[in-house]
Amino acid sequence: MNHPGYPTYYMSMRRQRFLLFRVYKYQDADAYAELYDIYYERIRRFVYFKLPKPVVDETSAEVFLRAWEYATASSVDNAAALFYRIARNLIADHYRKHGDQQFESIDSHEFESNDDIEKSVEGKLESEKLLMVLKELKSEYQEVIMMRYLDDMNISEIASATGKTSNNIRVTLHRAKKALKDAATQSN
């Protein structure tokens, strides 16, 4: 499962709770750094799929600053929920401020209409086709596919990140896979 130079991370919920406790009780920056290592890439990817490129790094950093503020001021026991909730809020804030235009122009890249997409798909590499298909999915599906197959999170981790039940995630994931498959066959 591991790719060279690109490790995937797993940390038990128990350990995460312990680290959060240390952050709350002692403002322990080292403990926070461990949590950061686990979540940084996930959160960045989550933000990456939803915001224009120039603000991705800034927003991801902001997520961890605000989470630190929050986790030092009050006791939190679910790190995933904390980070993803803050990320969602910041993303929502961004669109409240800047409107939807940016979303359109960046998200669908240089393609203007569906016809264009279909035409250009033929000449593209596999990965680019895949990216386009993924971006066409509705955001709920996109999120679970991303978390499961790109971030390598297990069902319960996804559940705590999204605030849904494990069963709910299983069903959504099943539907998302089906939607992905349909979209991919269609674009071929």
């Binding site: 926070y32 896979k177 992905l180």
Partner: protein, 371 residues
Amino acid sequence: MSREILRQLKEQRANTDFGAVSLVDRESQKQRVMRAIGVSQETTKVSPLDPVWRTVEQIRIAFVSLPAATVTAMLVLVFGGSVGMVGAANSLPGDTLYSVKVATEKARLRIASQERKVLLRTEFAQNRLEEAAKLAENPDRVAQAMAGYEIQVKEAKRELESFKQAEPEAAARVAAEFDTKLDELSTLVNGQVQKENPSKAVDQAIESTKDVSKTVVEVIVDAKDKEVESGVEGQVINDSIRETYRRRSNASFSRQNVNLQRIAIIEAWYVERDLSLPTTLAGIRKQVEDVSDPLFESAALIARGGYRTAFELVDQVELDLISIEAQIAAEEIEVINRQNQEVKEEEEASKTEDNYEEETTEGDIISPDEE
């Protein structure tokens, strides 16, 4: 087909088009965030004007450049002098050496940088408090020490304000550090000194400490405003804001916790005795719990940049807590009075019981089971 797509998807994990980030970028981002939450600010600066080091340096120079007799004379002067200083350092208001202590402090201020002056003032203020604590049995001298404390705190405030005019950014950083010291001072004043010497001088000292603590916030927030106006925003002031805010809101949260525990103890006392809880208690508990709301709101404000209002909210919470604590104290006194009453009644009861036992014999007592 589906499996094939998922396989392809997994292969894109390290692809930056799919949101991956290079290890180098990840590390630099991490450094940035960690710096922002104040990790690298921990390194302590060594003052170049450390008196011990200066003395050593002087002796070293003396040995290489002066004739032996002069060296001996200097050693006597240096060590003799330092003995005098040590004696003076432990002196109290009214002692002969006390004036030496005050003179030394003034000398240290004269050579200190503007930045250092503010912090030196807090050190001297703490000296005054320690003196006051040692002089507990002599009210006049305590008043003298407390007046000295007030002067130091007010001077620190003045120093900080003039520093703000000159270098807002550095002033904000010093203000944050100053706030930590101030925190220690007010704990000392409120706890130790107030309990031992409740007097007008102490009340005044508490007031001026609070006043300075407001100045700290002003200095930091004003610096931030100026920075925003100038359009160039740095990390230093943000760090100062975060640090100061964190410490203050944490203090309120922990006070809230302590108060909840006090209420729980009172409640337990009533429950143990099967008494109904006083109706006021629920109200007080609600008030204590509600303190969280403005604190959370202030946290949200800080995140959004509403620093001034956020600090005002925390200040308001501090005031609210004072009045709530007074109410809790009243309830505690009520419990203590009842407890005393109880003990007295028990004593009386045991007395009458003794009398009762003398009058009756064991055979007279029949338990319902035996019937």
